[in-house]
Structure formats: C-alpha cells, structure tokens
Symmetry: C2
Amino acid sequence: MRSVSVIGIGETKMGSFPDKSLKDLILEAGNKAIEDAGIEKERIEALFLGNFNSSYWCNQSHMGPMAAETLGMQDIPTIRTEGACASGSLAFRQGLMAIASGMYDVVIIGGVEKMTHQSTPVVTAGLASAADYEYEVKMGATFPSLFAMIANRYFYEYGNVRKEMAMVAVQNHDNALLNPDAQMHKKITIDKVYGGFPVAYPLTVYDCSLVTDGAVFVVLSATEIAKEITDKRVVEIIGSGHGGDSLTLHGKTSMTSLNATLKAAKEAYDMAGVKPSDIDIAEVHDCFTITQIVNTEDLGFFEKGKGARAVAEGKTALDGEIPINTSGGLKAKGHPIGATGLSQIYEVVTQLRGEAGERQVKKDINIGLTHNLGGSAATCVVNIFKGW
Amino acid sequence: MRSVSVIGIGETKMGSFPDKSLKDLILEAGNKAIEDAGIEKERIEALFLGNFNSSYWCNQSHMGPMAAETLGMQDIPTIRTEGACASGSLAFRQGLMAIASGMYDVVIIGGVEKMTHQSTPVVTAGLASAADYEYEVKMGATFPSLFAMIANRYFYEYGNVRKEMAMVAVQNHDNALLNPDAQMHKKITIDKVYGGFPVAYPLTVYDCSLVTDGAVFVVLSATEIAKEITDKRVVEIIGSGHGGDSLTLHGKTSMTSLNATLKAAKEAYDMAGVKPSDIDIAEVHDCFTITQIVNTEDLGFFEKGKGARAVAEGKTALDGEIPINTSGGLKAKGHPIGATGLSQIYEVVTQLRGEAGERQVKKDINIGLTHNLGGSAATCVVNIFKGW
C-alpha cells in the first residue's frame, strides 16, 4: 500500500459552547488544519467526516456536504462515518485507505460533535444509542453501567484497583492542566475521586469522561508529496488496524480483555513492523478510568493484570516510561464523540512535532500510537505514527 | 486498482413491517446474500453498513457491530456510512475501495432502514435532517418542497413537463407490478397522479417516493477469486464515481443540472471506459418524478431538456431503448433510505444475471448503471457493472 502522512492538524478548544453552532466548530478546526498544512483548498480532493449523533442532538444528518460547504470546498465528494465514539478514527481510516488505494492524493478528515446544549437525559439517551437498544438500553443499561460491570469483573479477576483508577483520573487531569485546548483545568486528588457523585459502582463522576462540544480536522497526503506541501516535520501513518466485536457486552468472550482492541492492535503493529515496547507515547481511550487500564494491557504496554500498578508507579505519567494521554484524555481534555479519535491524533502529531508546549514529553520521541474505542468495545481503531 | 465483483445479493421485501425489528430485516437480507454467494461466513473479512437515521427513528446508532453480531460474524471490523439517501451506495463504495486497496479480499455491504413505525411528523423530521437545518429546515423546507422548486425551475427553463412527470410515476408503478419485492403493487394512471393529494406544487403524493422498511445486502470479492466462490454470472464493478455539492439548494450553481451527478457520472464513465450509450439498463434515483428526468439527462442518456420527452416516447420503459428503474424505483419498489443504493445494485445485478423473472429485460444486456443521490443532490454515487 502507498504510504500516507499527516500534513496538517487543527482543533477547537474543547468545552461547552452554547453560542457556537456545528458550522462554527467545523469552520474553526477545518481552517486551522488547512492553514497548518499550508495547502491551497483546491488541492484537497475529498472530505471524510466523523460524527456520532448530530442527527439526534442537532437535527442534522448528512454532515459531509455540510462540512465541505462550510469550509468553501463544496465541490468535493464527502462521506460521514459513524462507529459511536470511534467515528472520527473510522473517518481517518477511510481517508487513509482512499489515498493508499490510489483514489486520491490529498484528503481532509474532520470530526465534530455538539451536545452540551441538550439536557442530561437527552445527552444520555443519545450516547446510549451506541449500545444495543433491544438487549441493553431497553433494560436500563447506559455506558457508565456497562463499564462499571467491566470494572467489577476486573476486580474479581485481578484484584481491587479502585485506587489506581482514581490515579488515572488524577494523572489525566494533571496533563490537561498543561493543555490549553482541554475542557477541564482542575487539579483533583484521589480523595476527590472517591468522594465524587456516585454514578455506577465503583465509578464516581470523576471516573467518567466529559460531555463536550468540539471539532478536530486533519489533512492527509501521500507521503511522496508531503514534503513539497509542508515545511513541518512529516508524520507518517506506519500502521493502522480496525477490530470489531459484538455490540452487546454479553456477546463478548471476555470483559477484561477486549477483542476489538487486541485485533486492531495486532493489525497495526504487524503493518508497522513495531512492538509495543517501540511506542514512545500513546493516547488511549479512557471513556472511564477502568477503560484506560484494560486497554494499556491489551495494547501490550503492560502485562495482563499489571496495568493498574503501572499507573501507580508513574509509568504512564508525562515523565514516565510510556506517557499515556498527555492531552488529558477523554477524561479531562474532553470527549467530543465524533471528534475524539482525531483529537488523539492531533495530540500525537503535536508531540511528535515537538510542538506540545508545556506538556511536551521531554525525552526524544519518534513513534506514537492512538487507540479509540466505540461502544463497550464493539469497534476499535489503532493507528501508529512515526515522525521523520 | 484491483478489480472487484459482486458475488452475492439478498434483499427483504420492501414495505411496512411493524412486527419486524432492524435485526429481523438485517438477518433476512444478510443471510440471503451470503447464501446467494455460496460462501462460508468465515471468509468475509469486514462489514460496511449504510444506514441513514436509525439513531433518530429506532434509538440505535453503532449499527455496524449490531449487524455483524446479528449475522453471527461479530469478529470482523465494521463501519457505518451515512450520506442521507446515498448511505448504502457510500457503504458499497467504501467496501469496493477496501478490496481495491488490497486491504481485504471479501467483504459484505449492507443497508437497512426502519421508519414506518413512526408517525408522519417524526418520519418527516428525520428525513429533513438530510437538508441544512439552519438554512433550510428551520425555515420550513422539507424535501418535497425543495424538489418542487427544482421542478418549477425546470418548467421555467425547459417547458412544462407535468404530464411526463406523471408518466414516470405510471411507468415505475408498472414495473413494480412485476417485482415481488416491491412495496407498491398498484396500477396508476396519469389522471390519478394529477388528482393525488397535493404535497408541494407541482408534486402530488404520486410524484413522491415511498416511506419504506427494508434491508439489502451485497457480497463483494476481488474478481480474481470470484469464480472460485460462485457459480453464478460474475458481475464486475467496472466503474465507480462519487460526487459532492453544497448541502443547501441555494448553494448550488444550477437546480436543473446537478453537479454531484455530473461529477460522479464522469468519474464512473472514465473509470469504466464506456459512454452513456453503452449502458443497457439503469436504476436512477427517483425520490420524486422530476428527479428521475433531471438525472437521466445529467447521466447523458438524453440531451438536456429532452429527458421528459424520452419518457413519453417510451424510451425508458421496460421494452425501451434504455429501461430505467425496472425494479419500480424509489417511487414504487420503495425507498428504505440506507438500503436504497444497494437495492438499485440488487436490481441491476439481478437483471445482468437474467434472474429478474417477469420484469427481465428481453434484449441482451451486459452493462448496467446505478445512480443514487443524497439530499437535494449534495451527494451522488454512480456505479457501472458488467456481467461476464
């Protein structure tokens, strides 16, 4: 397959923006990415848009042409992809394949979500549609309850890691303090997590990711022409994997080792020809604190059952052996569903370029990984990036 | 690019099925396609699902893994695509590219929609989300009103074709009478169309496509392995094009020559190395009767302004020089939004195989075309097929 690279990135601040429309968010992030790439719009051949549920929250489907028209590129073909919280990564992967296949040379990928203007029940119902309506949602399940079951099963199999889950939250909040685009700039403590509003045992509100408005765009080109377009450090996509599993939690063979992650990671590592120990930094899906721990094990960073201890030992901190979620993660940077996967890519590219400011990882870094889940791990996309 | 062929097709009957769930529809159409291909499920590597708005109508997003789990293939990666009424064709095109790029050898594409259980206002609001909410829907526009504007502008530029629009409806109803899967088995007359419930001048209810539940699945493989899997006539995808235009109707440079169709058609014809006159049969997007007329011109079957007369002269009839919508079209076969593009492909493949029963085109046919629009022509996918 033809090599593909990231040549431009742009994102909005993450947060609650009652005065900004979907179009405002798209315009800001899209133009930033195009400007960052230093490319004329006329060279962009197609747009791939990740959006989870604007149909439900904003009365707006068919977001591909809407985004292209908003960015003044209405002449190009567009597509919207949806795979719950992995919608943005799926758009990215389709754009990657479209260049790899030879169909296009330069494409733009976007992700956007606007949800904070809705009431909590409407936000919750919209999010719950990413689970199985007949088997799960009708019975009262929401995502906090599904991931709480995963946490409880993990406790049963590997011991109680309540404290380490809280440390994931503390660490990600610490990182977000250094990220100007993060939604949450608030230092927290383990006791604060323990004492948070109970959501679904053992999860308190501090174990849960945020409700966020935001948009992120990324410009991709064939690597062979990247250097003629941009002066920045070119970041090549050396590996990409896409794994699937049952939509239902009960349909999965394990609740503590997620098949979708295992398959996406294997595909990405094989394509890149690298091992987990070669990864310098990673953004890992932390919709809940337990999710980050399980995923860092399934990605091969730590042995099964040892992911929690690794957090406690500081291995995943900004100055640790493999910094995880330097952006603040879904937990504190924010979780603008359709844009989340691209926000992870934004962070890894920023770090690999050495442009992360106060939160820049101090050691030399060359290889970064993004891991994005949809639903209770029914969809997973893993990408591996190398800076040249 | 590597050649890709259709090796299996399956569809449900189109209609109103209060007792069937999304899963029931998926199960029926998916299993029919797999059985038609004569393939073991284990050989299918990925699933691409077109769905427009089950999030809104059925509380169900994240339909990719739901479909895979329902079909007993939960181990494969999945993606949902959405581009309004072109959602199914977009899924098809992503599956095509995925095989063409070398990523996979065999994939399954599905499309499904369930909407008849909702009240008319909820159906209408869900459909309207495929237009621009801020500029169009908030101001009261719905799709009948947008396409009524197109009809009126067409009258202004090319003369009043009210009668020929009615003849499109009569012809598509005639074809549907011969299609056992069609939703509408009802012979109509021009006077009946004229006297139908007025929707948006000049459109009456008989100028409008149907509200439909249904599902369609298609199995694709690399052409080089198609013959070892299936005994049926292999139908190769020799051309595919994807065009975009502004989401808003006011943003388009013309209302009577649709850029998205022009661009998708050019790309598909160029890739296939064929001309409009080489096409033996076509399924053309007829969300409204005027749409079919405009599109048959933009596809190059008839000169601009002559598409209506061609209908009156019987050129598009089952025994005409280029039979259009032998299935009955969106108008009478039905319009299960996310499945519609795949339903067109189902018909063309069935005709090219010579398996269309009573509605089989009598002359020798080798090349067929499908044309699928999203919104007021903001998205268009054209595919060209050849039977070997």
